[in-house]
């Protein structure tokens, strides 16, 4: 079957929706990366096995959906029961029989499996009521957890490809560009450049060939927004690209996926084949004379290939090294042809803008920062996971309401946004609104949306050191400021963390940073010193304590700390003695233990083993 008109698409969708209504209960098993890692596949297999055996009226094996990421990764594996909107957390294979018996056959809620408020310990069975979900607005991630990623029918059922049909059959390419421009959709990869303007410039260049490219080379440590979309809702990426290609006049498109995301490659490939089979992709899409062929390229693990010029060289089969962009890629991009490159999340927003209009899109978010932004919220927060909030949401809402506050209620210290070359914001920034312009103004950046929360046990010199070391090893090495400059910055950060630095070294680092920012060839180098610049701006005292007093107040920098046992608190349980791999702790049962400083390697195993918090970091 090929779908060749809007009516055919609508009729087909109605048929699918009617069939879906016949299912009285649906079991949505999260197959996102976090849940798969905690055994979701076994859980869904068990559901299939038991449903086959039990034959429950109105519930078939088809009622089980292996969906994309439900996002509340902290509580994985997750299973939602629809349409009741019940969310079961940390579901084990042994829980499956009980869920079927009570919640599928009956309408009972299993209290022990639902989310409990960490403070009041009240059970919150329905996910829309859980604070983690309540404060979110989902546009790009709208289908995650709602549909089966590998089933085009499920995507069409929830309105998929209607925006593409609207664009191709009822709009002109210029009309599409105008709508996206009016919506002020800014690049979600981090740059924040208006997509509409990019598309317009690309279309304006005289050329026989143009390309659309999707950047799925998400490389920031701890970030998995694009991964979740590519794995859990691949058709939305395709639909966004179809609309973009129609707008700029491209016949070929490339999706660049990092090698570390094999499931994304598989699901995108399946999606392409499914869409081609029914005439929604490939030649003569929806019976029109517009054709688009999409290809998948796999990256080979270089962080720098997320940089646009390096990515395009990599797609073309060359070494992924950035080149000067004095001539922009909308003029000379892939194979020197005009090219539109957008990020996965940007494309995922496009169908919603076309379907609902620019005014709807700008009604969400903040001025000049329309719509939402997805973040992966990780670090020392209670509720880690994937979130999407309207632009302009205060950091405090994200960390305390959605994230549930800091683990063990420790004091908040900083939040790192924007990936390795982003920056750290401090407590005085908690009420800042999260949007492209505000974050940049305060020395951090939106980046692709990694958000790492840190508590008072995090040393900011150590954080700067870690991110610099990441950038040193991921620099391509082509230009001097990035290759040698970041290397020297990292060396100086190490010297500070080991108490070998002088105060003048801070000035030296600031001077060097300025040079690296001005002198580097690509965005990676230009933003490379940010881990240092933003920590020194907000935590200068902490640097000075390391240099002047040879002390690490967070108790992290090994050269500057020592562990000692508080004889008052120690009850002589010997747990630390067992945990120490270096035989550095001695003592008798029920008598306070002692650490031999000569033998201690400061690995921290004793701190983790002690139940009485008797081990002090000095």
């Amino acid at each position: 079957m090929r779908i060749e008109s809007e009516k055919q698409l609508r009729d087909y969708r109605k048929k699918l929706a009617d069939a879906d209504k016949k299912l009285t209960k649906k079991i949505m098993v999260c197959h996102g990366p976090g849940c798969l890692a905690s055994g979701a596949e076994k859980v869904s297999e068990e559901f299939e096995k038991q449903l086959k055996r039990k034959k429950i009226t109105g519930v078939t094996v088809g009622s089980i959906k292996k969906t994309g990421c439900h996002s509340f990764c902290e509580k994985s594996p997750l299973v939602a029961i629809e349409p009741a909107q019940i969310l079961y957390t940390r579901v084990k294979v042994k829980d499956v029989a009980e869920i079927i018996e009570k919640s599928i056959k009956g309408d009972e809620i299993i209290e022990r499996l639902v989310y409990h408020d960490p403070h009041s310990n009240d059970a919150i069975p329905k996910y829309p009521d859980i604070p983690f979900y309540k404060h979110q607005t989902r546009i790009a991630l709208r289908n995650l957890g709602k549909i089966n990623a590998c089933d085009i029918d499920d995507y069409i059922r929830v309105g998929g490809y209607e925006a593409a049909a609207k664009a191709l059959l009822k709009m002109t390419p210029e009309g599409v560009i105008d709508e996206v421009t009016k919506a002020n959709l800014r690049g979600r990869g981090g740059g924040g450049f208006p997509a509409g303007r990019k598309w317009k410039s690309c279309r304006a260049v005289e050329s026989d060939v143009r390309y659309v490219v999707c950047n799925g080379d998400e490389g920031d440590p701890g970030a998995f927004m694009d991964r979740a979309i590519m794995e859990g809702d691949p058709h939305t990426v395709l639909e966004g690209m179809i609309i973009a290609a129609f707008a700029v006049g491209a016949k070929d498109g490339y999706i660049y996926v990092r090698e570390e995301y094999p499931l994304a490659v598989v699901n995108l490939q399946k999606a392409i084949e499914q869409a081609e089979a029914i005439g929604l992709l490939g030649d003569n899409i929806l019976g029109t004379d517009f054709s688009l062929h999409l290809h998948i390229n796999r990256g080979a693990g270089a962080f720098v290939c997320g940089e646009s010029s390096a990515l395009m060289l990599s797609v073309a089969g060359n070494v992924g090294e950035p080149r000067a962009k004095y001539i922009r890629s909308v003029v000379k991009g892939l194979w020197d042809k005009p090219t539109v490159l957008n990020n996965v999340e940007t494309y995922a927003n496009v169908p919603m803008i076309i379907a609902n209009g620019a005014d709807w899109f700008t009604s969400v978010g903040a001025p000049k920062n329309a719509g939402t932004k997805a973040f992966s919220l990780v670090g020392k927060v209670r509720h880690t996971g994937l979130i999407e909030v309207p632009m302009g949401t205060p950091l405090r809402t994200i960390i305390y309401d959605i994230g549930g506050g800091i683990l063990k209620d420790r004091p908040f210290k900083a939040v790192q946004t924007g990936g390795p070359s982003g920056g750290c914001l401090a407590e005085q920034h908690l009420d800042l609104s999260v949007d492209f312009d505000t974050l940049t103004k305060h020395g951090s950046m939106m980046g692709s949306g990694g958000m790492i929360v840190m508590d008072d046990r995090t040393c900011m010199v150590d954080v700067a050191k870690y991110f610099l070391s990441f950038l040193v090893s991921e620099s391509c090495g082509k230009c001097i400021p990035c290759r040698e400059g970041l290397y020297q910055l990292h060396k100086l950060a190490i010297a500070i963390s080991e108490g070998r630095a002088q105060e003048s070294d801070i000035e030296k680092m600031e001077h060097l940073s300025e040079m690296v920012v001005t002198g580097s060839l690509c965005g990676l180098g230009k933003s490379g010193p940010n881990p240092f610049l933003s920590t020194i701006a907000n935590f200068r005292d902490e640097y000075l304590t390391h240099i002047r007093d040879h002390k690490c107040s967070a108790g992290v920098c090994k050269e500057l700390i020592k562990y000692e046992i508080d004889a008052e608190k120690c009850d002589g349980c010997m747990a630390c003695i067992a945990a120490c791999a270096f035989n550095a702790i001695s003592g008798k049962k029920t008598k306070p233990h002692v650490i031999d400083q000569e033998l201690c390697t400061k690995c921290g195993a004793c701190v983790a083993a002690c139940t009485r918090e008797a081990i002090m970091v000095l």
């Binding site: 004095y326 082509k478 230009c479 400021p481 290759r483 040698e484 001005t518 060839l521």
Partner: protein
């Protein structure tokens, strides 16, 4: 043609011509270590960075590599502003940390008032400045026998898998183009050694002296349409041949004229 201002002088340039060419035509000295006539501009050493602005930019200035920035109408370029010199000096400070014993770097650094790096010298310094001229020349020749390997600070020029490169023909273009003579080779009798490979040199039928490697001759005759006979004699013999031919032509034309 476009007209632009460089260091206060109005000059004309072809549209799209790179700034470095225009700057050099004016006789202004701007260092550029990764620039080589045989290859496309690269933008790696960053030393040719200049300050650019336009009347219409409201005082905003940008810093770009002259080797890659195309000449534009009304562009105002400063090749030696205070900030540019500071930038170049810092770059050379970093170069000195990597190549402390390299005369070319020492000289450039000294010109900018630096005799010693203010940074920590790398553990195993050498003379390779990673300008990439050798690998790009090798690509242009059509061999791509050597390339940049590893990322970031561990970057180096090497043949694939650090083994004798099968695609090398021993043409010496890499060693010839290397600005710091880092690439070593050895010609002993009719044997040439480079990149861990050994090549046999053809012998000139007239002078008895070595010419080029057998592999290079084969490549040139196959891919560049140069007849194989050409390589049977060396350049010296070719010059002899040319001189005597020219002599014969001159004598013949004089005879014709006197007739």
């Amino acid at each position: 043609m476009v007209s632009l201002t460089i260091n206060g002088k109005v000059v004309r340039a072809e549209e799209g011509e790179y700034l470095l060419a225009v700057i050099r035509r004016m006789g202004i000295d701007v260092p550029a270590l990764c620039d080589h006539a045989a290859v496309e501009p690269y933008g790696g050493c960053r030393l040719c960075m200049v300050e650019i602005t336009k009347e219409s930019w409201d005082g905003w200035k940008n810093y770009v590599t002259a080797c890659l920035y195309p000449a534009e109408q009304d562009l105002i370029v400063n090749t030696h502003s205070e900030k540019v010199i500071e930038l170049r000096t810092s770059l050379l400070d970093l170069f000195l940390a990597r190549n402390p014993e390299t005369p070319l770097i020492q000289k450039l650094a000294a010109d900018h008032g630096l005799t010693k790096t203010s940074f920590e010298v790398v553990p195993e310094p050498n003379d390779c400045i990673l300008c990439g001229i050798c690998t790009r020349v090798c690509d242009e020749m059509g061999f791509a026998a050597i390339s940049m390997v590893n990322r970031g600070h561990g970057r180096e020029v090497a043949p694939p898998l650090n083994e004798a490169p099968p695609d090398c023909v021993g043409c010496l273009a890499c060693a010839q183009a290397c600005p710091t003579n880092y690439i070593k080779f050895e010609d002993i009798g009719t044997t040439r050694k480079i990149w861990g490979r050994e090549f046999e040199l053809l012998t000139c039928e007239k002078t008895g002296r070595p010419t080029i490697t057998r592999e290079f001759a084969a490549f040139l005759s196959k891919h560049r349409d140069i007849p194989e006979e050409y390589f049977k004699v060396n350049d010296e013999a070719h010059r002899d041949e040319l001189a005597s031919t020219m002599g014969r032509i001159t004598r013949w034309s004089v005879q014709e004229e006197t007739k």
